[in-house]
């Protein structure tokens, strides 16, 4: 009879820990989610799996760092730097979209993959030249660092830690929500957004009804780059910024995009959030060394065990193109 009570106590005693992990996991997960959404934007309008997505995140982080806090930078206010960083990423994104135009017409998926991988390496290399290889600390968006939330002792037992609610984490989640809302509006209410959806459903038909497909492709890359840059600028104060940060973040966002079903908007958001949370918990309760492997094990597991289940949606759309 005593066993269950004991177990219950332990869980309750861990409640602050669990809430804490949930909170920080949700913040990281929001980042994965918007990176995954960035993948989805490009994939659904061009069928390109953009392996350079993570570099947009890096550009967002590094450029906003340089504009705001770097020693030899211009020390701009954040409110000005953030749009500039997004703009920089959009320029790079459009350039990539433009470069991909020709292989896109030849419909050679292999070259598309290779070119985006090459572009990713190129941005990586250029960033390491511009900003060096050392990670830099980035100032958070606001000065208040966070709030301690003490749970009622009745729930947790006497000596529990408070849950720490970091302001930057709140920023991250808020921005992620904003991005999702803005995108929903964009795709459902604006002409360009609708054109992009049309291209994703039927490229040929879209061209017939007078949509400029090239402009849509470049637009998709620019949009996706903007999303990535926002993610990068928001996460940098939590994770630090470095020329190489894009690789891991990009790959994890990518894992989320696949787990959620490539091309599936809500799917990638949910998968991103779950991935962030699960990663956080597994790092604490299973093994912190393998934290980074975790996302890939999930990715591989999904691909190996039930790819159909997850890609079903995408396949149905694919069949109609």
């Amino acid at each position: 009879m005593t066993e269950p009570v004991y177990a219950r106590k332990r869980i309750m005693g861990n409640l602050p820990d669990i809430l804490q992990l949930l909170f920080t996991g949700l913040a990281v997960g929001s980042i994965y989610a918007i990176i995954a959404v960035g993948f989805t934007v490009i994939f659904s309008s061009t069928q390109v799996v953009n392996f350079a997505q993570g570099e947009f995140v890096m550009i967002g982080a590094m450029v906003s760092y340089w504009l705001v806090g770097a020693e030899h930078g211009p020390h701009l206010p954040l409110l000005l730097a953030l749009p500039l960083a997004v703009l920089a990423a959009m320029l790079v994104g459009s350039a990539l979209g433009w470069v991909l135009m020709r292989p896109l017409k030849d419909a050679s998926v292999t070259s598309l993959i290779i070119i985006t991988v090459g572009a990713s390496m190129l941005m990586h290399g250029v960033a390491s030249l511009l900003w060096g290889k050392d990670p830099v600390a980035v100032a958070p968006f606001s000065n208040t660092s966070g709030y301690s939330l003490t749970l009622p002792a009745a729930l947790t037992g006497p000596h529990a830690y408070p849950v720490y609610i970091g302001t930057q984490e709140l920023w991250v989640m808020g921005l992620a929500a904003l991005v999702v809302l803005a995108l929903t509006f964009f795709f459902n209410r604006t002409m360009i957004g609708k054109a992009m959806r049309a291209v994703s459903v039927n490229r040929h038909g879209a061209r017939l009804i007078g949509i400029n497909v090239s402009r849509v492709v470049v637009g998709a890359f620019a949009l996706s780059a903007a999303i990535g840059a926002i993610a990068g600028a928001a996460i940098a104060p939590i994770s630090m910024a470095s020329y190489g940060m894009g690789t891991m973040l990009g790959l994890k966002g990518f894992a989320a995009a696949i787990v959620g079903g490539l091309g599936n908007f809500p799917g990638s958001i949910i998968a991103g959030l779950l991935l962030g949370i699960m990663e956080n918990f597994s790092a604490t309760y299973l093994s912190s060394q393998y934290k980074d492997a975790f996302a890939f094990i999930i990715l591989l597991g999904v691909l190996v065990i039930s790819p159909q289940g997850i890609v079903a949606l995408f396949r149905r759309r694919r069949a109609s193109v």
């Binding site: 799996v49 392996f51 470069v99 020709r102 292989p103 030849d106 419909a107 050679s108 998926v109 292999t110 070259s111 993959i113 290779i114 070119i115 991988v117 090459g118 572009a119 990713s120 390496m121 190129l122 990586h124 290399g125 250029v126 390491s128 030249l129 040929h204 690789t247 790959l251 990518f254 894992a255 696949i258 060394q289 393998y290 980074d292 492997a293 996302a295 890939f296 094990i297 990715l299 591989l300 691909l303 190996v304 065990i305 790819p307 159909q308 890609v311 396949r315 694919r318 069949a319």
Partner: protein, 365 residues
């Protein structure tokens, strides 16, 4: 054309043997043989990747992981379990083949580029494993070992983490050990030429033809009875086995391995080698591997004088990758060859009839 005549493959192989045999007469500095040995090793890997990309139309972004499986299996078995390198080598190849089968089977049954994604994830996992492999068996495995009555002295395989594994024995035949740079040069090139020969045999066979057909039109190939998914898996497994062979040769030739040799960037480098040599061109593998190895060497030399320049390594590789992919998707070799042929024929032949538009009916099988 069933009359007997020397096949192009045979001529190429003989030419290759002659070149390799004579190379040390030209390259008299034995240090200069080291990069040539690396070219042979990478050639072996790139041939497999080349067939995967050129014939199966799939990209692997994790071939460094199969390279690692070959290298670490060889190193661990021969240093920690007292195996002969000759037994360790096929063990690594078999392991890589099995792993490739497990990773590739589900992804290659679907159309699209799931393999690129899966191999990318797989490469990351292997890299992290190499870095973080525990020094002693985790409790669960130790218990299992005790339950299975494994002798307590059974060594736990050890990867050395970030510092790697030193003192890997060189390959030897009887008491003849491949020690010197020259000996290693000949040994690795013998393997490379053998691999080239075997793969060239595939291209001109029933299976090779089927693969080229898939490249031409998947829909048509399938309706002629070609089991596309099965062949893609075969080629992927073969490429993993070749990568493991290359890895094993690398471990025994260099004598020391550590994780950075097997990271994601290395996987991309292998793709660059394929692209330079030209996809679906077995012999291009030598050129691709050669270009990247020699370029890397040159950058290192230059880097010694101008340290800043060495950082351009990544930029140069990726720029090559993008430019070749956009302007010479057939690879440098084929593009150059076609240009020469066109010059020779003096535009005698009109450009081939434009390929008719591909049917939109081709859909997911």
């Amino acid at each position: 054309m069933s009359r007997v005549r020397p096949s192009p493959t045979l001529i190429s192989v003989l030419l290759g043997i002659a070149l390799v045999a004579l190379a040390p007469c030209v390259v008299t500095n034995s240090y200069a043989l080291v990069p040539l040995t690396f070219i042979a090793i990478y050639t072996i890997l790139v041939i497999g990747l080349n067939m995967l990309m050129g014939y199966a139309g799939q990209v692997s972004l994790g071939h460094a992981a199969f390279f690692a499986i070959g290298a670490y299996t060889s190193a661990i078995l021969s240093t920690q379990y007292g195996c002969s390198p000759w037994a360790a080598m096929p063990a690594g190849m078999a392991l890589a083949g099995i792993v490739a089968l497990l990773v590739g089977m589900p992804c290659l049954r679907l159309r699209g580029h799931y393999l690129a994604m899966a191999t990318l994830g797989f490469g990351m996992i292997v890299y992290i494993l190499l870095m973080e492999w525990p020094d002693s068996p985790p409790l669960l495995l130790a218990t299992l070992g005790r339950l299975l009555h494994l002798p307590a002295s059974t060594p736990w395989p050890f990867t050395g983490g970030a510092s790697g594994l030193p003192d890997i024995p060189a390959l030897a035949i009887g008491s003849f050990v491949f020690h010197t740079n020259l000996q290693k040069f000949y040994l690795t090139w013998a393997f490379a030429i053998l691999a080239l020969l075997l793969c060239a045999n595939i291209v001109n066979s029933r299976v090779g033809r089927a693969l080229r057909a898939v490249h031409g039109s998947e829909a048509a190939a399938a309706t002629l009875g070609v089991n596309i998914a099965a062949y893609k898996i075969h080629v992927f497994v073969l490429s993993a086995i070749l990568a493991a062979l290359a890895g094993s040769l690398y471990a025994h030739a260099v004598g020391f391995i550590s994780p950075p040799t097997f990271n994601f960037i290395r996987s991309v480098d292998f793709v660059v080698m394929v692209v330079i040599g030209g996809m679906a061109s077995i012999w291009g593998a030598v050129l691709g591997a050669g270009t990247i190895v020699l370029l890397g060497n040159w950058l290192q030399d230059v880097g010694a004088k101008f340290p800043r320049l060495a950082e351009f390594d990544l930029i140069i590789h990726s720029a090559i990758l993008i430019l070749v992919m956009i302007f010479m998707p057939a690879g440098i070799v084929c593009t150059a060859r076609d240009a020469v042929l066109r010059r020779l024929r003096g535009r005698a032949t009109a450009p081939a009839a434009a390929a008719p538009a591909h049917s939109e009916e081709v859909a997911t099988p």
